[in-house]
Symmetry: C2
Subunit: 228 residues, 2 copies
């Protein structure tokens, strides 16, 4: 009985959230800011990826980062130190996700992220379940699946793989040490989400990062076209 009650509550919360997300997205679009939401399991390499990606893009666009965590400002600090861009740490009060209202409140306290930013990166909390349920207002969703996690994850966390525009298979430098079949993973992702792009990378060695940069550039230029 408690479970049914929880589900009903969640449906109301999700409907409210969709409206807030649409408002956040409209505001960002009007300002010419593209927001990309990065999601993954804990430890799949979101922060390392950002510290590699941002330096390759920051000379051609104004980038800011919002990092969501339950506690600590480790990730925001790591990104800021490694890339020189501004990073805001959001503590989400122990919740398992960030929703569009939380993004709206963060942006209200950090208006430069709207008015003075071309690419706003949201580093979501490490979790393959709840963040997939909450539209954050981002224009694009990216999820990172790392090789050590296994190629069966699309079968077990289907919603996450369904809501993303890009799947990055990360830590491919460790393929020799794990039983991870890239083709099997790709097929499982495509079955859930035929429109998603899939790229293989190693945030550590830099392999495959150029293609990720191109994808980000394209996402930003598409957004600018929508605005015009």
């Amino acid at each position: 009985m408690a479970a049914v009650r929880t589900i009903r509550i969640e449906e109301n919360v999700l409907a409210d959230n969709d409206a807030s997300a649409a408002a956040v997205r409209s505001m960002l679009t009007a300002a010419g800011t593209t927001m990309i939401n990065f999601m993954s399991s804990p430890g799949s390499g979101k922060t390392t990826l950002l510290t590699a990606l941002i330096p390759a893009l920051k000379d051609e666009m104004r980038i800011r980062v919002m990092d969501v965590d339950i506690e600590s400002a480790l990730d925001a600090q790591r990104v800021a130190d490694a890339t020189g861009v501004e990073a805001l740490q959001i503590h989400n009060g122990g919740l398992c996700h960030i929703d569009a209202d939380m993004v709206a409140r963060a942006l209200a306290q950090y208006p430069q992220a709207v008015t003075d930013t071309d690419l706003l990166i949201l580093e979501n909390i490490g979790n393959l379940v709840c963040p997939a349920e909450f539209d954050t207002g981002a224009h694009k969703n990216v999820m990172i699946l790392s090789v050590p996690e296994g190629d069966d994850k699309p079968l077990k966390y289907p919603l996450m793989f369904s809501v993303c525009d890009l799947v990055l298979i990360n830590k491919i430098d460790t393929l020799a040490y794990f039983d991870f079949n890239i083709e099997a993973a790709k097929q499982r992702i495509r079955r859930l989400n035929p429109g998603a792009e899939i790229l293989c990378v190693s945030a550590k060695t830099g392999e495959g990062l150029d293609a990720v940069c191109d994808w980000v550039r394209k996402a930003c230029s598409e957004q600018m076209k929508v605005r015009i």
Copy 2:
């Protein structure tokens, strides 16, 4: 405002859950069944660990497994095939955790897990956030932190590391390929949870598994003493 509402709801749900968890635990204790809840990130090796642990213990105790997933029966099938013990797959309706009411309902449909079992293993959903908030009724909580996830996880997911009785640092066979400092991880865990035991293992190579078996034996015999 939506976030505050969510938190209030969660507090009620958690209070209800604590009462249900106490009831589940009493029932299991009275039946002489020890329940151990295994939690971790997706892909940290819960299922592989169980397929290594159960064969080493199944001749000395009657073991059953309940596997929680959003979708697929992959894990329950893998455990059953590899170990020969009965495994029940629980689909949790897309939620990010399993709570004590869900456990109670599963046990009502699967009474052998109470009446004919010495060790009942719950393989929780892969998530470092939500499962930590919900007491499942288990006598002991184990969390698995795998080397590829990084040694900073206790700083970022403190509740999970606070509620567990045993932390297994898994995939130690891959230590050479990742920047993971075991001593730093141990210190961070001990700061949050001085009473937790910490063991290093490789579910793949079997290294360190004897100590895990001993820990499980001790947990079961403690439980039998409580009963008497």
